[in-house]
């Protein structure tokens, strides 16, 4: 069995460990809620994490398409970017995936000497980390931009309505 098949075979276990690690960044009651409530609408945070983490896992061993990955990563980081975590904790789901895979399959990978494959997977995970960081930053920048736009348009509108602005042309 090749490296990818070995890991994919353990998908359910890896996902469970991964989700547990990630939701454990919240306090105990909240982590339990995010993990256990399966409702798409009653638990949008937990649901969105679960769905996108699974998609990330699948894509990592399929095409590893940056565009698709970006969409899945956005589902997670967009939420984390407003929850008050530090940037590193916000994107900690990426190193947690590596840990989870190693916890489940590490011994076998080492035993069978699949170091080259493990290294290659780590390169893909590094790329994923960069993607997550870029995405996190774009979310934070969007928040500040929204704030700046709001203030700008409000000020402009008040000046315009007060008759202090004369526009050239029509």
């Amino acid at each position: 069995m090749n490296f990818s098949s070995k890991i994919k075979q353990n998908k359910a276990r890896i996902l469970n460990i991964w989700i547990k690690k990630f939701t454990d960044t919240y306090s105990e009651q909240s982590a339990k809620f995010f993990r256990d409530n399966q409702g798409q609408f009653s638990n949008p945070v937990g649901y969105t994490f679960r769905v996108n983490m699974e998609k990330i896992f699948d894509e990592l061993f399929l095409d590893n398409d940056p565009e698709k990955m970006s969409e899945f990563v956005d589902g997670i980081t967009r939420i984390r970017a407003v929850q008050g975590f530090t940037p590193s904790v916000s994107v900690s789901f990426v190193p947690m995936l590596r840990e989870s895979i190693w916890e489940v399959c590490g011994r076998e990978i080492a035993r069978e000497g699949m170091h080259q494959e493990w290294l290659e997977l780590n390169v893909r995970l590094e790329e994923l980390m960069q993607l997550a960081f870029d995405n996190y930053m774009s979310c934070r920048e969007q928040l500040w931009k929204q704030r700046a736009d709001f203030l700008h348009s409000r000020t402009h509108k008040l000046l315009e309505r007060a008759g202090f602005i004369t526009k050239a042309g029509k």
Partner: protein
């Protein structure tokens, strides 16, 4: 000392927060979740206690010397005065049914945003400082002493509750966290612990008549701007009247409709409707530049201030000599009107039971308050075929509807907006049932929490709503989120920009304004936003 290797260091980093009893979790006032403190000026203006400059991030909140006695005394007084508060302090069995129903908890994962725990912040003080069992058994009976840190925690979390009442729908005892928050904030206000986003609008409203402090001439100028735009689009200029004595009806709407997009387009919708009703049926509706605010931020401060701000509606109706009052699209405004106004400032004997002069429908549910909602009034007009509508002008829209908490949960106002929406547009899609009607999720900005500085908590609180919007966007291509609340229009716009950027926000009367055919109008090329109407895009 040798430095550990990176992998060892990394393994030792624990992202898991420590497990501690909730009473021992230290308070951390996080940026993005709290609002700035109230400036002294607005507090002074309405006679609220302890006006001073202070900052929630400072250790010293500049509390009055006898702050503890004031708070506990205020609590005792309210336990006597409000039976609901007394019951809500006593009967919770901590079953947890409400725990995961609050949008702020669902979005943030902060356990103290669970309604049960939010109430417990105050309830523990009630037990520890007031009940005998709590005074003897202390923590064992769930009681604790009111310290400055406890007070700060109450302040922090009671301004993270939008009083939406979703939790109360699920409570087997019917405990209403909104009422606990209302009392909690009232107690905080005894110590001058208001937030600026509430105190300033309340004082402005008390002085000038609306939240922004727009003076009468500026209010009129803004409406004139809208009339200019309407004339450009339809070829017909509405001629609204202001403060007209002897008018038949007084119209009061949130000032957000007058100054903030996209509420301004809803305001244009009102103007088009009133013009039509005047021309076709002789309905004489006037606007007031004094009672120029439907919203009531006194509601988020104290019962007393709510009453004072609300009084102007009846006073102005009496001064102008109208028959009854028509109210615009708003959320908490309607909770105040529906549930408090009559006992606070009514019943107004000088007004008549609202009867539509067009259809003859008598609005008996408002027989005492004498004030009806514009959406129910319009639904009745449409039901009687009194409004010529061209739905196709809204064909570019695929619409879903967000039930605002106060009209839906607070007054059972569920069908009327949907009826109107279905009559003014062809593409309407409901969000999942567990996210609408009585179970609707708050926009995240209710109860005066729509400040600039606490956007993160609003986005977290808005996530359950945004998530439901996403589902209808993915399934039906929804691109417009309709609602009947000015705070929704402000909050949801920023929220959609972040969570679902391809979905816009509209008031119901904006769509009505687009669909309503005015006699003698020119062929419209654009909608009220100045965007080309469906089928007119090529001519651009």
């Amino acid at each position: 000392m040798a430095i550990s290797k990176p992998d060892v260091l990394y393994r030792n980093i624990s992202h898991k927060p420590p497990e501690t009893n909730w009473m021992d979790v230290p308070l951390e006032i996080k940026p993005g979740r709290y609002c700035y403190a109230a400036d002294p000026g607005p507090l002074e203006y309405v006679g609220m206690p302890n006006p001073r400059k202070w900052n929630p991030k400072d250790d010293d909140w500049k509390l009055p010397e006898n702050w503890k006695e004031t708070f506990i005394g205020g609590m005792k007084e309210r336990l006597e005065k409000f039976r609901s508060f007394k019951i809500f302090m006593d009967i919770c069995v901590r079953c947890g049914a409400c725990a995961d129903k609050c949008h702020y908890f669902i979005g943030s994962g902060d356990p103290k945003n669970m309604p049960v725990l939010r109430a417990e912040l105050l309830r523990s003080v009630y037990r520890g400082e007031i009940t005998k069992a709590g005074q003897i058994l202390g923590r064992f009976a769930g009681g604790r002493e009111l310290t400055e840190n406890v007070l700060k925690e109450i302040w922090y979390y009671y301004y993270q509750c939008s009083e939406c009442r979703r939790c109360s729908v699920f409570c087997p005892y019917g405990i209403d966290q909104a009422e606990i928050t209302i009392i909690g904030r009232e107690l905080l206000n005894l110590l001058g612990l208001n937030i600026d986003w509430i105190a300033k609008p309340a004082a402005n409203c008390y002085r000038t008549g609306n939240h922004l402090g727009i003076q009468p001439h500026a209010f009129k100028d803004m409406i004139d701007f809208f009339c200019d735009d309407i004339e450009e689009i339809t070829g017909i200029r509405p001629e609204p009247t202001f403060n007209k004595k002897g008018a038949d009806y007084l119209f009061i709407t949130p000032s957000g409709d007058v100054f903030a997009d996209p509420g301004t387009y809803t305001c244009m919708g009102y103007l088009i409707l009133f013009h039509y009703l005047k021309e076709e049926y002789g309905m004489d509706i006037t606007w007031s530049t004094y009672a120029s605010e439907g919203g009531n931020f006194g509601f988020f401060t104290s019962h007393e201030l709510m009453k004072r701000l609300n009084a102007k509606m009846y006073m102005e109706a009496k001064r102008l000599g109208v028959k009854w009052i028509l109210g615009g699209e708003c959320g908490h405004m309607w909770r105040v009107l529906h549930q408090y106004m009559d006992s606070m400032n009514g019943p107004p004997e000088f007004l008549e039971v609202p009867v539509s002069p067009v259809t003859g429908t008598r609005f008996d549910h408002a027989a005492s308050t004498k004030m009806i909602h514009i959406v129910e009034f319009v639904a009745d007009l449409i039901k009687h075929n009194k409004l010529p509508l061209d739905k196709s002008r809204n064909d570019n829209l695929r619409v879903t509807f967000h039930d605002s908490c106060n009209p839906s949960r607070g007054m059972g106002f569920l069908e009327e907006p949907r009826y109107v929406i279905n009559k003014v547009c062809n593409n309407f899609f409901e969000m999942p049932l567990e996210t609408i009607r009585e179970q609707t999720f708050c926009c995240g900005g209710g109860s005066g929490l729509n400040a600039g500085e606490n956007e993160e908590i609003r986005l977290m609180g808005g996530l359950p709503r945004a998530n439901a919007v996403k589902s209808v966007r993915d399934r039906h291509g929804v691109n417009m989120l309709a609602n009947v609340c000015a705070i929704d229009r402000a909050t949801l716009t920023a929220m959609m920009d972040y969570w679902q950027p391809d979905v816009g926000v509209t008031g119901v009367h904006e769509m009505l304004g687009n669909a309503l055919i005015l006699p003698g109008e020119q062929e419209r090329e654009t909608n009220l936003r100045g965007e080309p109407l469906p089928g007119k895009e090529e001519e651009e």
